[in-house]
């Protein structure tokens, strides 16, 4: 889960490592995702989030399809 300067840099890194391409989103979208995902983390009332609730966060940001399907609990 890393940052790259551009798509060209992602592709060059994938070619060098031999890893299959995963998913790429902009830093802007990642920031939105992080705020939806982590904003409750320091609340004293924090409780573990269900898989369904986490999946719903991904879906709200358009992160759908098999790659973004979380593991069954």
């Amino acid at each position: 889960m890393n940052l790259f300067r551009s798509e060209e840099h992602v592709e060059r890194w994938l070619g060098r490592t031999g890893l299959e391409a995963g998913a790429t989103i902009t830093a802007g979208r990642l920031c939105e995702l992080a705020h939806a995902w982590w904003s409750d983390r320091l609340a004293p009332s924090w409780r573990p989030r269900s898989r369904e609730a986490s999946q719903a966060i991904l879906e709200r940001l358009g992160l759908t399809g098999p790659f973004w399907q979380l593991a069954e609990e």
Binding site: L14, I25, T26, R29
Partner: protein, 145 residues
């Protein structure tokens, strides 16, 4: 995860924020007198509420915070922390509900990437984030992920 375990979990996060690093087991022992915190930490690890080191009795992660240095450094609210990954780097200002600054690097070329988080938005926002591991396997090896 029971209420006692959640209290220990909340204590760890509070100390992580205060210290700018992970509380060590020896510190937790002193700060939580009479509390059997190690079995609780094992349970919290099983629930992915914290991540323990494989080879020693210390914390590795309390996501989004990292207990070990990484190439994702975050400044927020006048303090700084290491994040586990780029996602977590954005997660630190989000968790603290403040603006922040992320210093990371392009994993391909190593060039520094500096991004501000202002009002919940990334500035600039055009750098790319790549995740190689499908979501169903993120916790198979969370350190690699």
């Amino acid at each position: 995860m029971d209420e006692a375990e959640l209290r220990i979990r909340n204590h760890i996060y509070r100390r992580f924020v205060e210290l700018g690093r992970a509380p060590r087991f020896a510190e937790l022992s002193a700060e939580l007198p009479g509390v059997e915190f190690e079995p609780a930490l094992r349970r919290l690890h099983e629930f992915h509420a914290v991540v323990l080191e494989d080879d020693r009795r210390e914390l590795r992660m309390a996501n989004p915070f990292s207990a070990v240095p990484t190439h994702h450094r975050v400044e927020a609210g006048g303090r700084s922390w290491f994040a586990n990954c780029a996602w977590d780097a954005f997660g630190i200002p989000a968790a603290l509900h403040v603006d922040g600054h992320i210093s990371s690097e392009c994993l391909d070329c190593g060039e520094t990437i500096e991004i501000d988080v202002r009002g919940g938005q990334a500035v600039p926002d055009e750098h790319l984030f790549h995740v190689a591991v499908p979501a169903a396997h993120w916790w198979d090896d969370i350190v690699f992920t």
